[in-house]
Symmetry: C2
Subunit: 192 residues, 2 copies
């Protein structure tokens, strides 16, 4: 998506060949006009899919998912990060490894808000190793929900998350895929 | 706001005389159509205020703040909860006590996204003791930003947060103020 790529080139900061900072418009300060354009793109790309729920994970995915849900006219659910797994049976729960924070945390979704009738578009701001996304897909699987697709704002194409999902046959729609970044020049190369 | 009060009466669950569960439409599953109606109400109520930024705190406030920011045509910033205060001077930071989780956490906002030119509408889903809101107001104060007002979806009127802010002269616009709840009957009384 050209609009997002141009914004990343303009306002993104290449901190290293692995780390891209986009907190001025995506995941700390949020440009909702940009989110709306992204949501319209996904709406168009998934026009053939019977999506009736948007799923994301706290915290950075929530703002994007809210706008996407409004665009599709469906509810959004955000998975919660929990210190400990609630074992009273009213939550789907899984464990996710965070490379950024070097720890494992639990992710939970109430059984009341995800089930076999749901056709889900899973949304997140970033995909790198895809650990958080794996957790969300496991929760959809546990709920018997159908994953219609995955919408990612920025995928790090040089990390395995996105391509591993595509190899599993999951429809992954990343609006910008970064192939490489040069911290010396700040240059960013996107996948065509 | 009648629409929100009716929704709370219909879908809210009174767990005790202190605890109201609204996770089916507000803070786990999100009804963005409702958020849009709430945002329009705040837009009308604050029509005279030169708001140029919406501030909230992760995670439950983010979806509401995103819709509100779009309604006002301004960026939204969400304060991040952090394990430890970053002391490199690029963040405003404060400590917040969580009664729900019985612990103290740090809240940070980058100095790049809040400053003396900002006229802020602070948004959150709930206000009870107001500890999270106090933290956000301290951060606005540290940034030299002007707080134009506070928009809360559901205020627990029997807890001191909202009225304490009003006594300080802060404009608090809670769309539903719960005065009391009866866990036996499920009845909820709202402030007029």
């Amino acid at each position: 998506m050209r609009l997002l790529e141009e914004r990343i080139r303009r306002d993104g900061v290449v901190k290293s060949d692995q780390v891209l900072k986009v907190d001025s418009f995506l995941n700390h300060q949020m440009d909702i006009g940009l989110f709306r354009a992204m949501a319209r793109q996904w709406r168009q790309d998934f026009a053939d899919a019977p999506i009736n729920k948007v799923l994301t994970i706290e915290a950075s995915g929530i703002g994007i998912a809210a706008v996407v849900a409004e665009e599709f006219g469906v509810p959004a659910v955000f998975a919660k990060k929990s210190e400990s797994i609630n074992i009273d049976g009213t939550y789907y729960a899984t464990s996710v490894r965070s490379f950024t924070h070097q720890r494992v945390y639990s992710v939970i979704v109430s059984t009341r808000f995800l089930g076999p009738d749901d056709h889900v578009l899973v949304i997140d701001d970033f995909m790198a190793n895809g650990c958080a996304m794996d957790g969300l897909l496991q929760i959809c699987d546990a709920a018997g929900a159908t994953v219609e697709g995955v919408g990612i704002a920025i995928e790090k194409g040089f990390q395995p998350g996105g391509d591993r999902l595509r190899q599993r046959g999951i429809r992954v729609d990343s609006l910008a895929i970064v192939e490489s970044m040069d911290p010396q020049t700040g240059d960013i190369t996107f996948r065509d």
